[in-house]
């Protein structure tokens, strides 16, 4: 398996699994306007996933399409962060995840625009504007829920705490990104900046920055939480029941 294929898969799977979780809110968000906002965000993420998985298929060179990669791989073949697959939970949990993940994606794509790989640079150039809006959307909600009522503050803090043990995985550097120097972005290089931005939002929201000693990892190696299997069952069910079906 080539390094570039593996790396593109990481980015594509993050976007795909995040899109699936975000889309779960359509028709279930606290207000109609938020249904549409999260729907837009989910579609942005899905668009990124399509471009990346399509490219991963080309790089691999054995004829797998974006659909083959999305619908016909098993849990252990997925390379997404565990953060992306966690259940959506309370609305504040989803917002906490979006703040962490979109801020990460924003910093990543800003760097990836300079990649020597033209396709990755192109995808990042388009996506960076989208994720800047995702960061803004999450930030607006964290501020309002955190600095809202006693109950909204409690829930926002609970969301920030629940997602926190899955954040260190985003910045794990490994041999793969080092071998792809110039093409891939080593996420450890922007960990401090991510932390600074997150802390600023959390401070302003009157919540407190979570402190957690234990941090989960394994998503990049295909080791996932029990939640990914259920997510994939829903995502892949129709395509696997009716292979090759079109409409």
């Amino acid at each position: 398996m080539s390094d570039l294929f593996e790396y593109t898969l990481r980015l594509g799977d993050d976007a795909l699994i995040a899109a699936q979780r975000t889309a779960e809110w359509i028709a279930a968000a606290p207000q109609l306007e938020e249904d549409v906002a999260l729907g837009n965000i989910g579609l942005d993420q899905l668009g990124q996933a399509r471009s990346l998985l399509q490219y991963a298929g080309q790089v691999e060179g054995v004829g797998r399409s974006e659909d083959d990669l999305a619908y016909f791989r098993n849990e252990r073949d997925f390379r997404n962060l565990q953060l992306c697959e966690l259940p959506s939970g309370d609305f504040a949990h989803t917002i906490a995840r979006l703040l962490y993940f979109a801020t990460y994606q924003h910093l990543l794509y800003e760097e990836l625009r300079m990649s020597s790989d033209e396709t990755l640079a192109g995808v990042a150039g388009k996506a960076v504007k989208e994720v800047a809006y995702h960061v803004d959307h999450a930030t607006q909600w964290v501020l309002r829920l955190g600095d809202g009522t006693e109950e909204s503050h409690r829930r926002m803090q609970s969301g920030l705490d629940a997602m926190w043990p899955y954040t260190a995985e985003m910045f794990a550097s490994d041999d793969l990104v080092r071998r792809l120097a110039g093409i891939a972005v080593d996420p450890s290089t922007f960990a401090d900046e991510w932390s600074r931005r997150i802390t600023q939002v959390i401070d302003e929201s009157t919540c407190s920055r979570p402190e957690s000693s234990y941090q989960h990892d394994g998503g990049r190696d295909g080791r996932h939480t029990e939640h990914l299997g259920y997510l994939l069952a829903e995502l892949q069910h129709v395509a696997r029941s009716h292979p090759g079906a079109t409409w």
Binding site: Q31, E33, A37, Q140, R144
Partner: protein, 92 residues
């Protein structure tokens, strides 16, 4: 939670003025602007958005319709239809 209603005005790419497109609920002006972006500009409908609290709009009342609007009905001389268009002026 009952959130205030906001009226949304959008200026299209080629338009000169903001046009009313609809309304939405939001807790404050900042969120109203973002909701308007998400709900009303998904298909590149505009390049500028105004949001106004519906409660801040002073509107004419349907009860006053007669004295407000009827008197203008029979004053046809207010319309520019009695002028002779000079010859050679094509696009007046």
């Amino acid at each position: 939670m009952i959130e205030p209603l906001w009226e949304v005005f959008i200026r299209s790419r080629r338009g000169l003025s903001h046009t009313h497109v609809g309304s939405l609920h939001a807790p404050d002006a900042t969120m109203a602007l973002r909701n308007a972006r998400d709900v009303y500009t998904r298909r590149q409908e505009g390049v500028s958005i105004w949001v106004v609290r519906a409660a801040d709009i002073t509107a004419s009342s349907p009860d006053e319709k007669d004295e407000f609007f009827d008197p203008a009905g029979d004053k046809v001389y207010r319309h520019p239809t009695f002028y002779q268009v000079p010859e050679g002026v094509d696009h007046l």
